[in-house]
């Protein structure tokens, strides 16, 4: 066992948790505004693709990150428009975004780069990694605080910001009112559409960032359907985390850890890779089953 599971797993878990945390935090805000953003998977994939394309074109990972956030925002605004203005079903819009992102990224990958399956190369600039030499001697500290892009630590800050935003700001209070009882919010003079746009926009941007992290955080490449259901796992995290920032943090760490274990198993054992790859998906269903019991969110009639 020791050679399979060692302390470096903590570092891996944190890296694997980051895209889930990023997207679920934005998703939490949308959820509290009353929208389960089923399209986060597609927004993440589109984010990953544009991060790679823009990082390559402009030679800057920062521009890649911004582009990913913007493409996520664009998809989110489309979602918001169809939902608010044209009364579309959120589930249908979300699935449409997911299929659209998959189709578009494959089409553009073939048409622009002439490749099928993946874009890679040394001209894709990844995120710079933070190295603190002073702590390189200490096992756990080293794994947690060095070798990761700044986005990892930024996501921790976002947990706090999301928490404060939802619970201690006026806009947060209003947004929760819109999500829980839109009629009450409208009667109190709030513009419901505006808060829904806000929630969905934040989930789009954060999913775009999550995609950028996937593409530029470790390997600096894009592969077909590289999100592999992470957007849906983020949705599950939002639900069983009861739509809170702290729940998103715990859920993401749980899944990050599971994926880290899976990766180590894959490298070091005779278990067929398919079963190892199954772990996060099975875990999602199990987690939803365990934490989904009891009343669903209090929504007044």
């Amino acid at each position: 066992m020791p050679e399979i599971i060692n302390l470096s797993i903590i570092g891996v878990a944190i890296r694997m948790a980051t895209p889930l945390l990023l997207s679920s935090l934005g998703g939490v805000v949308a959820y509290r505004a009353g929208i389960l953003n089923v399209g986060m998977e597609g927004m993440m994939l589109a984010g990953a693709f544009s991060a790679v394309v823009f990082s390559m074109t402009f030679g800057s990972s920062t521009i890649g990150l911004i582009a990913a956030g913007l493409i996520g925002l664009l998809a989110a605004m489309l979602t918001g428009l169809i939902y608010n203005r044209y009364k579309g079903d959120v589930f249908v819009i979300g699935m449409a975004i997911n299929i659209g992102a998959l189709g578009l990224t494959n089409f553009l990958m073939r048409s622009i780069f002439g490749t099928v399956g993946a874009i890679s190369g040394s001209d894709i600039i990844g995120f710079p990694k933070i190295e603190i030499n002073a702590i390189k001697e200490f096992p756990v500290l080293r794994d947690v605080f060095t070798g990761n892009p700044i986005l990892v630590y930024a996501s921790w800050g976002l947990v706090l910001i999301t928490f404060v935003f939802l619970n201690h700001t006026r806009v947060g209070l209003n947004l929760r009112a819109v999500g829980e009882n839109p009629e009450a919010a409208a009667a109190a003079g709030l513009n419901n559409s505006w808060y829904r746009y806000l929630g969905i926009a934040l989930s789009g941007i954060s999913s775009g960032f999550a995609g950028a992290y996937l593409a530029l955080g470790q390997l600096s490449m894009f592969t077909e359907n590289m999100t592999a259901g992470r957007g849906f796992i983020a949705l599950a995290i939002i639900i069983f985390g009861r739509g809170t920032a702290e729940g998103a943090l715990l859920g993401s760490l749980l899944f990050g850890f599971a994926e880290a274990v899976a990766m180590q198993l894959q490298g070091a054992s005779t278990v067929p890779p398919q079963f190892v790859l199954m772990i996060p998906y099975v875990l999602t269903v199990v987690a939803l089953t365990i934490f989904g019991v009891g009343r669903s969110r209090r929504l007044s009639t």
Binding site: R85, L102, F107, G292, S296
Partner: protein, 354 residues
Amino acid sequence: MNNGLRLLISSLIPSVMAAAGAFLIALLFVVFVRQDPSVAFTALLNGGFVGTQNIANTLMKATPLILTGLAFTIASRAGVFNVGAEGQLYLGAFFSTITALSFSELPGLALIPISILVGAFVGAIWAVFPTYLKLRFNVNEIISTIMLNYVAILFTSYLVNHPFKAKDAQFPATEMIPDQAFLLRLLPPSRLNMGFLIAIALVILLWLLLFKTIWGYDFRHVGQAPYFSSYIGISLPKTMLSAMALSGAIAGIAGAIEVLGVHHRFLDNFSPGFGFTGIIVSLLGKANPIGDLVGGIFLGGLTQGALMMELNASIGRELVDVIKAVLFISLAAVEAYKPIIHLFSDRKVKAQDA
């Protein structure tokens, strides 16, 4: 023009508009990647809908889409979203392959129905499981069915890579099923087969079931008005479970037909997202089995046409995925078509008055 026809036409407007919009936007993408749109679209439409072999291939490609469309339709009518058709299809395909391989001494007349039924049964189980979780533990079925897709695909991938891999295969695939289990090819060399006729039969059966029988009454009312349904004594759990079982069974049949009619063995990762395209088919077809037939043939034609387009105009067949996506997104915006529908029906009323 009579009332019914007018209603029918105005109900078709969203689907037709969405298709037109999708082509328009796809056209912009073709221009964006510096290709000639007229060449591209001529190749696409000719490849899909002109010539006996092209049409036969279109119908072949439409078969699984009609079936997954039906699967989504029947579940959504009862108020459950089955996003898991993809996984149900994989399991159905795999286990019908195994059945055909295991009972190879049986005559075709017995082996084919048994294999298909096993596929249907396994698909049904894989659909009932998340429904049970939804009813008992309040687990969102959209997420759970998507997760179970990954599980099913990975599981069959393991089976076909390890225990069931054909001895001399260069790629992950099972042994070929016995000849008598092959579904009859209707227009060779095209791989169009009896499966298409099975799909049509299911379209008719499900249409009758939904709109003419007491079970269809249960399905539709549970989906439309759950409070009313339980008040008049329809059991919501039973109805949802049976709708999902039926839905999963149809997805399983789709998988079985792909094996028995097209590939004649189980191939790793053989489905290009049939299950998800089925959702678009169902939306295009307005959750009506007849509409699913039309929507399935339309999307099957695009898929077939895309192959021809790639051959003849060297434009990636992924363009069709873009069309599908735009189609899907614009179908989501139901209200956006309201003004057009009104315009249409108002004019008709005026014409009658005149």
